[in-house]
Amino acid sequence: MSDALDATAEEESGFAANEYERQPVPEGKTKGLRSFLGLFASEHVAATELLIGPLFVLHGVSAFDLLVGLLVGNFLAVLSWTFLTAPIAVKKRLTLYYQLEKIGGPDIIVLYNAVNGILWCFLGAAFIYVSSTALFVPLDLPVPELKDWLPNSVGMVAVILAMGAVIVVVAAKGYDAVTHFANIAAPWMVVMFLVFGIAALPQLGVRSFEDFWRVANEVWDGKAAEGQVQFTFWHVMCFSWFGNMAWHIGMGDLSIFRYARKARYGLASAAGMYLGHYIAWITAGLLFAVQVKNDPLDTSVVPGPMAYGVAGYVGILLVLFAGWTTANPVIYRAGLAFQSLWPKWSRVRVTLAAGVVASVIAIFPGFCNRFLGVVMLYGLIIMPMGAVIFADHYLMKKLGMVEFYAERTGRRFYWPPIAAWILSLAMCVGIWYYLEIQIFFLCLPGWLLAGIVYLIASKLMQKPVAEEPIAMKEGQS
């Protein structure tokens, strides 16, 4: 089933689907730098950028902290892809799932899929919510306020559930059609994010660069809204570095970079980071600033009306498409992940069930109003497996241990990766609770702890093994 998940990721990206799931990608099938530039540029300009940009404003980021923090944080993310993810991918040319299976055994993949499936339901909910907000303007629905946890009208619930139903049915039955549409819409979406920024500037009174800096200091004024955590340079830097940690230090993009001719193609991630997580976050912040300028009491983070205020119905179209095209693969993947737990269940039904869960979560605006924390939590939960893969690849042999231990010993379940996962997360919770360190700063210590726990547990558990991998033993753990 993990193979199917990889195939999904590849279909979205235009990389070969259903190929080399349980074998290294042959050298002749690798791709050039341009493929990776296009993939990252389109993949990281998504609907949720329209939530993140305004939330930075509400968290009281100053203009300097935002511009420089994003510059540095995104640069560190690019370095993480280039020096941590891509080298392992190019060396082994295997998917994350297959590598994890070799390290921890097939049963670990079942657990990994279950956790991923649940998390994807939450991410899918955010995309459904963003898409639904596109209809708030034509239907003249009242927007939920920043402090609202619950939906504020029956109309809002009906629109979100209806939008969720359409997205989910299409994800279950017409996944390919939307993926094809996403391919077509991607370049338009990238340009539209630039247009948002350009169109917002005159509305904010910007006529020159000096104006821009003055207005930027008014928009990102360094004062957090009531009830929001005050953000600093370090928050911005860590968020932009670790916002995608599931894919770089969490090793999710091994499945993509196994097609790279050279490890330095990891630098292609800069296209996604600086278009999606720099320009798009800034322009989304400007959209929010226009909304607040027009009505200082309106601090709601609702992408549809914000985009309409700057770009009219074309802006609404962007919100609709961006939400839908990103919700589609996420809901589909969630369905596949759950189906791996019960292979006899119909894929369509499981996808529908996952979509229903995502749609129900989406009706609570409080979830999306706290999206920055949700993103960090998602990455934090998934990332320890990346540390395990990193430690297994680089350190096992150097420390006199055996890499791919489950495969070498024919085990279905090998404890150290799970111990690393659970203990590192438990330690992160402890750091957060007792030392009151915010979630934005837990990722790096959590990743290091996971790697250390994995190595120590492996040292305690590993025994000498035969040179060649032996066949899997049923029920052995």
Partner: protein
Amino acid sequence: MRTILKAISLTALAVLLIAPTLHAMELAPPRVGQFGLYLGTVGWFFTAPFWIKYR
């Protein structure tokens, strides 16, 4: 034919970008910016599906 469609698509994207820029620089009224958004969007979605490959 494919080349012509591709040229139209890319022109549409350029219109999408340039029209609001002209308005932002006070070289064109707001309706030019808004019209450019519609024209660019329609131009893109009516031509790009014919040449963007689905791999």
